[in-house]
């Protein structure tokens, strides 16, 4: 992924850029919004990460002039303003997604994947990770061809993990996915369901697919 990051905070900008490069993406970093438009028009970026509060021009202004210029590169807004209105305002102004600081790096990457995928309009009804197969149409999950019976909550959690195969999914992302809401109350709910899910998809098989990434979240992959 070619990412353009527009963020004035030096530490955050440096870390996000480094993190993206570490996970195999290409990242260009601007610390102001004034020349953002010309840079975006010149370069071929898959996605833009735009801070809402910049020292020179407001992120909202950059966003609206990009939309006026007809730039269709997907845009993810970063902000410290987390209220519902601020989210709505950002999304209505044409942002493809909205992420509130502080955020998990894994969540940023996952969301970037999600919006680039959305913009390519690729939709799939079957996910496969090694021997694990999920069919969204029939809502069947099988491993080695054996049908696995999941509760609706477990199914939704696995769906999110399989969509993001190879990427870390955080607890917060799971909570928001389950309730379809911006909810940051991190409880042991996710752990309980993960334990059960792991019991169903991994316990009776040769090797585990669902892994816990300490301090970050969960990942489904063949190791």
């Amino acid at each position: 992924m070619d990412v353009l990051l527009i963020e004035d905070d030096q530490v955050l900008g440096k870390m996000v850029c480094r993190g993206l490069q570490d996970s195999g993406h290409h990242c260009q970093w601007l610390s102001g919004g004034s020349d953002a438009i010309s840079v975006i028009k010149k370069g071929k970026f898959d996605v833009v990460v735009l801070d809402r509060m910049l020292p020179d021009v407001s992120g909202m202004n950059v966003l609206s002039s990009l939309k006026n210029e007809g730039v269709d590169t997907p845009i993810l807004m970063l902000t410290a303003l987390g209220s519902v209105e601020n989210r709505i305002e950002g999304l209505e102004a044409g942002a493809d997604d909205y992420l509130v600081k502080p955020f998990d790096f894994a969540e940023l990457v996952a969301r970037l994947h999600a919006i680039t995928r959305r913009s390519r309009r690729v939709s799939t009804s079957v996910f496969e990770v090694g021997p694990l197969r999920m069919d969204l149409t029939s809502r069947n999950v099988t491993r080695d061809g054996k049908l696995i019976d999941l509760t609706p909550t477990e199914f939704e959690m696995l769906e999110l993990l399989m969509r993001e195969t190879g990427q870390v999914v955080t607890r917060k992302m799971i909570c928001e996915h389950l309730w379809d809401a911006h909810w940051e109350g991190v409880t042991n709910v996710v752990e309980v369901h993960m334990t059960r899910l792991r019991g169903k998809i991994d316990r009776d098989f040769d090797f585990p697919l669902l892994h816990t990434v300490r301090g970050r979240g969960y990942i489904v992959e063949v190791r």
Partner: protein
């Protein structure tokens, strides 16, 4: 100025009234005198002829006696010719004879009474008269006194008015002075109660009770801020300590990973507290209501119950949904998810193995009050002691953990105050019914006007 004008006008009206009343009174007594005299003359005429000396002497004496009034009496023939007149009677006829009957006449200077001599033939008329001058002089004297009084009232009224308003407004000045010295950091002062039980005292009492509420609120905010800072300090200290440990000596990659993962967890805790604080301050703002949208509360109930059921089962607690009527309310869905999750999470935390949690959502229709939506979450857990029930909704309050049998009960102590803030922002109420060792039920009621 207006006041002085009103006083002057009132005084002027009073003076004119007094002038008119006095004039009326004086003329009345003069008339009485004239009628009486005419009657006397009429009686005398029956016994004595006009020409008799006694008759003439009698009337002349009377005329001399009433000199000051220039009193006189005349006897007139029916054609108006003078038959006889008392001494000093004006020679002019003064007024023409009106033969229609007995009547009073007022001329330039005189008041006259003319009456017919009864059973007389040929017809004769008696006319008694007196000068109006003394009467007018008397009136002038009264007018002068009244005018002086009026002038004095004009001078005194503003002074008196100013003095009275100065006295009446002095409590207001005290209020203004006290109010000017109040500021958010020092809300201890109160307005004095003068014990007069008048409007100003009521105003002072109202302002005092407003100050009481403000002082309580400011105090609460102050405590909240102090508590919030304190709560943030704990995860911050942990993060710092972990980072310190990581930096103090050379470690293996796995060790570093482990320490950084710990920092991440503590950062999550810190972030959780910050977002709860934000939610708490957001939900208490009335403007947020503008962003309320309709959503299905029953759908939130079943979703949260489904998700938490596994957690309850892990703790050997059963979680069931009793009634769950389809109910749409207008509000902030994210906030209601938080309310439900906080309450269910609490119920699980404070339940003992084998306990039961029941969630119930339905409409209630009272005859007296408007229809409401009731949501209750009850558990058969350890319950809350009576002295703690009042305070469970306080920010950062946690029932004394030494009394509970659970040692792993964690949380920020903001959960229930968030519930309360959200419910109240939706016009509802939340209460806690609890019996130690028997269980706790939280009951939320919101008006139907918040639903559709």
């Amino acid at each position: 100025m207006w006041n002085a004008g009103a006083v002057a006008l009132t005084a002027a009206i009073t003076i004119i009234a007094i002038h008119q009343a006095t004039r009326w009174e004086l003329i009345g007594s003069l008339d009485e005198l004239l009628v009486e005299d005419a009657a006397e003359i009429r009686l005398a005429l029956q016994d004595l002829p006009v020409a008799s000396k006694e008759f003439q002497d009698e009337l002349n004496r009377k005329a001399i006696g009433h000199r000051r009034h220039e009193w006189f009496a005349k006897l007139l023939a029916d054609d108006g010719d003078l038959i006889w007149a008392s001494v000093k009677a004006p020679s002019k006829p003064l007024a023409a004879l009106d033969r229609t009957g007995d009547r009073f006449t007022t001329t330039e200077r005189f008041r006259l009474y003319t009456c017919r001599v009864q059973d007389d033939s040929p017809v004769r008329w008696i006319r008694s008269g007196a000068s109006m001058d003394p009467l007018i002089q008397e009136l002038h004297r009264i007018d002068r006194i009244a005018f002086i009084t009026w002038l004095m009232s004009l001078g005194i009224a503003p002074v008196l008015g100013w003095f009275m308003s100065f006295r009446a407004l002095s409590p207001l000045r005290t209020m203004v002075h006290t109010a000017a010295t109040l500021h958010p950091g020092q809300l201890g002062k109160r307005l004095p109660d003068r014990g007069a039980d008048d409007e100003l005292d009521h105003l002072a009492m109202t302002i005092n009770s407003l100050l009481d509420r403000l002082a309580a609120d400011v105090g609460e905010k102050h405590d909240f801020l102090a508590n919030a800072a304190h709560e943030l300090r704990t995860p911050l200290a942990a993060i710092r300590a972990t980072a310190d440990v990581a930096l103090v000596s050379n470690r293996s990659g796995d060790d570093y990973r482990e320490l950084v993962a710990q920092i991440m967890e503590q950062t999550d805790a810190l972030s959780g507290i910050v977002s709860q604080l934000l939610l708490l301050s957001e939900s208490s703002l009335p403007v947020r209501i503008a962003n309320h949208r309709p959503f299905s509360l029953d759908e939130v109930v079943s979703k949260s119950a489904d998700i938490f059921r596994a957690v309850a089962e892990c703790n050997s607690v059963s979680l069931t949904v009793g009634r769950n009527d389809p109910i749409k309310i207008i509000g902030n869905r994210d906030q209601w998810i938080q309310v439900l999750n906080n309450l269910i999470d609490n119920a699980i935390k404070y339940s003992i193995s084998g306990g039961q949690i029941t969630i119930d959502l339905h409409r209630i229709n009272d005859r007296e009050s408007q229809s409401r939506v009731q949501l209750s979450i009850g558990d058969t857990g350890i319950g809350i002691h009576d002295d703690d029930i009042e305070r469970v909704f306080d920010r950062f309050y946690r029932a004394d953990r030494s009394r509970t049998r659970l040692t792993d009960v964690s949380g920020t102590g903001l959960g229930l105050s968030i519930c309360k803030a959200v419910v109240e922002a939706h016009g509802g109420t939340i209460r806690c019914d609890s019996q130690a060792a028997e269980g706790t039920t939280f009951v939320i009621q919101i008006p139907m006007s918040a639903s559709s």
